[in-house]
Amino acid sequence: MADSEVFVDTGELAPEPPPSGAVQWIRDNLAYSVSSTITTIVVGFIVFFGLRALIAWFLNPFRKWSSVTANSRLLMVQAYPDAQFSRVWISVGIVVVLAGLSAAVWRVAGKVSVGQVASGLLSVGSAALVLALLAPGEFTGGRGILAVSGLAIAGAGYLWKRAKKASINDPVISTVALAGFGLVLIAVFLWTIKLPVQEVFADGTKEVTSQALANSTKVPWTILLGVLAASYVIGVAIRDAVPALRRILVGLWALSFPAILMVVMRAPDIKWDTVLSLDLPIFLVVGAAVGAALYVIGAPDTGEWKFIVSALGLVLAILWVLFSWYLFDPTSTSPFHITSSAADVLQRLEFKFPLILGALFALAAPSFGGAKAARLQFIGVWWAALGLLIMSFRLGAASSLLQLSGTAFVGGLALTFTLAIAGIVLSFPLGVLLALGRASTMPIVRMISTTYIELVRSVPLITWLYIGSNLLNLFLAGVVDIDSVVRAIIAITLFSAAYLAENVRGGLQSIPKGQYEAADAVGMSVVQKTVLITLPQALKAVIPALVGQVISLFKDTSLVSIIGLFDLLYIARTVVPGQSANLGSIMEMTVIAAAIYWVFTFTFSRSSMRLERRLGLGTR
């Protein structure tokens, strides 16, 4: 009885359990003072009537929801040609495979308890039931379905909770199983849920038929859901066997966007004889020559002459680009003058840009060189960068095999994504450079960066889009023919980079001075100090701001409709309501566009929260 010896009764009673129950909860949270009671009642009325009006609007039999299903393809890719449509599915397939593998490799799976799932069901079901009960009018059609399904879901959740009362908080349900169940459910919905589809004939009469939710696309979507599940399973199977899988996947994600855009969607007409006779020799000769030079220059015992050699190399390479038109091509007058298209410019620059890249690598070599292993790794990066450069020149110069109508080869959600991803990816390095430039001690660099940032930020994005689209085209008419999508990307990138620079600068300023001094103390060069010490910390500190910028950039792409590009929102609000079959569907289409934007922005913000947790941001 050792316990009783330690226990000392002080004569005090155990504290009473705090009062609980629904009435007490309301008293604590909704009506703890006179003003809070009034607020609760007022807000309650507003929510009640607002929800009632909203649900009545959704369930109105005159709502033209069929305009959404009939135009889903227009919303996604605008006028992508029928014959080539498999390219769209391949693009989605690439993303789906990478997503499945990543989910497995980053171990997103976890366990949740019965209580969590059952409570989720209960709240979703009761919300649906409450909405159905709130709606005015008869219990028919959509309202009836909503009420019955809400009741069923809530009932299932409640009964499950009752049945598993003892083990309700044990984490026994795998989220993988839940997600798998969700996928099966989606597949079943694709095939079973029917929606009315309206067809209008030439004489003005119409016919309403009932069609499956994704009538023409249910087979590919079902296959894609299967591919997602399969790639997750494969990812689980190989994640332990291939230790570098995370790095490989990061690389594949980085490559997926240009690959989808330039190879799959654009279908470049690659001349393989040119690749073999031109690209491959350039790659091998320049790669080997510069690689050897990097090996020598990067060695720690190489003298100061290495800087002179690499700087001279850069100057010569740039001079060659600028003056070769005068020296070697008598018919040409400037690097910007070409005879037919942007493709020709790329074709000509292909010879010279690898040398500029090589000279830049040579300048950076002393910072990243050192021991033999480090030098070899740096040379590997050089080969990869050279390969990417030559490949992008080849792909950019090749003409598209697609027969497309309209000015842009993508539209709808695909265009929104193209602009957003290209804008983010391209503005990131530019923005970081600008931030470093503004924080730099070199007066000219700092002045240029500051001027750029302040100038760009002081003008609205719409203005930059107009400048990029109309003025650029008028100035360069006949000189170089830049695609309208590229023009928009240029404007968005230049605009976004200025804002990104300020975010990154905020991060740079948050780093304690000791970090800089410590880096100086161990003898790091300026480049090493920036790349290895300050920049990673600065970027980590501003993740929330950067994600906020990504989200706003994603939504800002809807402004491109003013320069004639048909993004998701323009198609939803102007093109579809302009079809005589779907006249008067503007509110329905706007709601759907809003829902699509919400799904993606919500995903962005959730993933950034996950990233912040992983990096331990905000906890130290």
Partner: protein, 388 residues
């Protein structure tokens, strides 16, 4: 720091070279650069020496036809979201009255009505796109006005559709087809902002002595939503758009026939819609104009896409049609730079004016009878000069 100074020094030297290079750009262009093989790229001035007087590409005389021929496809600017005039269908194809006119031009120039690349343009950028040479012809329900004709460097072709602004009200509010602007006193009137519609109705109501409460929204469909919900007593835009919305609402069962009425009988404004092209290219202007006239003439003499093939073999073929289709006289078309059978292709592949009108505008409740768009002998204004 020393390293950075060295790099900076290199950059400064580089900058000097670059400046010197820009100065060199004023060197005269070689004769090679001004060949007429590719008229879109004759501007050879380099950046840094941009000459404001240099003509913009595509404005040089007589170039558009060669450009279209070389390209093998006509670039036609349309709206892409104008009910019954140019609608983007759910599969991405373009239909409607304006789209058919584009096909007619393509049939005349290239012999293939499907050799059209439609560029869907917003109202704001349509003229810039045409001036910059991104499109060959603009057929985008564009009203012919004096300022547009004289200040934009563009010219207007023959009017293909005579529209006019109207007002739509509800019969339950006491409006009839005989109502006038004097009857709208005190009503809330909705329309989309940024068009001449707004100005026209304010001027018209003021002249009629009525005071209106004007409520503007961004897009016309939003004004229709307000009209249906009752927050607007009246909506106003071009009569074709009002009738289209009314007929659709009847079709979809939202209203009964006669619930909504469009008035007044004489439209508030004149809105002649037709093709637009760059000025100073007479050959191209002739081609577009006479393609439109060919559809008028074929309608006048009863040549349709159905009977035109048998007509040209007929010995009793109307002489005007004979000249138009290049059967009796192939000089008329070839002096314009077209094939002799250019307009035969237009009629056989696209149809005459009446066919185009019936196919595209009848489904939304717009009919020719009694309107300005009837032939001149039926009291309308569709009148083509003779083909001879």
């Amino acid at each position: 720091m020393k390293k950075m100074q060295r790099i900076l020094a290199v950059l400064v030297v580089l900058g000097i070279f670059a400046t010197a290079c820009t100065a060199d750009d004023t060197a005269p262009t070689t004769p090679d650069d001004t060949t007429q093989t590719d008229p879109g790229t004759t501007d050879t001035t380099a950046p840094g020496s941009t000459d404001p007087t240099t003509p913009v590409a595509g404005q040089s005389g007589g170039a558009t036809l060669d450009e279209v021929r070389a390209r093998g496809v006509l670039k036609c600017g349309v709206s892409g979201s104008a009910v019954a005039f140019s609608e983007t269908q759910s599969d991405g194809s373009m239909t409607g009255f304006d789209a058919e006119m584009c096909r007619a031009v393509a049939a005349a120039v290239l012999g293939d009505a499907n050799a059209v690349e439609f560029a869907a343009l917003t109202a704001a950028e349509r003229f810039t796109a045409l001036a910059a040479g991104e499109i060959d012809v603009l057929i985008r329900n564009t009203t012919w006005t004096q300022s547009r004709d004289t200040t934009l460097g563009l010219d207007f072709g023959p009017t293909t559709y005579y529209d006019g602004q109207g007002v739509m009200g509800k019969a339950s509010d006491g409006f009839t087809a005989d109502s006038t602007l004097a009857d709208v006193d005190g009503a809330v009137l909705c329309t989309n902002a940024g068009t001449t519609t707004e100005k026209n109705i304010s001027e018209g109501a003021a002249q009629a002595g009525a005071t209106i409460v004007l409520s503007t929204v961004a897009e016309f469909p939003e004004a229709m939503e307000g009209f249906k919900a009752g927050s607007c007593d009246l909506v106003t835009t071009d009569a074709s758009g009002l009738v289209g919305n009314m007929v659709t609402a009847i079709r979809d069962g939202e209203i009964q026939e006669g619930d909504w009425v469009v008035f007044p009988r004489a439209p508030i404004s004149k809105e002649p819609l037709g093709p637009v092209y760059r000025q100073n290219d007479s050959q191209w202007a002739d081609i577009v104009n006479w393609t439109v006239y060919a559809t008028f003439i074929a309608d006048e003499f009863g040549a349709t896409s159905g009977n035109v093939e048998s007509l040209i073999g007929d010995v009793d073929l109307n002489p005007e049609l004979g000249r138009l289709f290049g059967v009796t006289d192939d000089e008329l078309q070839s002096t314009m730079g077209l094939e002799a059978d250019a307009f035969y292709n237009v009629i056989s592949q696209v149809g005459n004016y009446d066919e185009i009108f019936t196919r595209t505008l009848n489904p939304v409740g717009i009919f020719r009878d009694g309107s300005y768009n009837a032939q001149w002998y039926d009291g309308g204004m569709i009148y083509a000069p003779p083909a001879r």
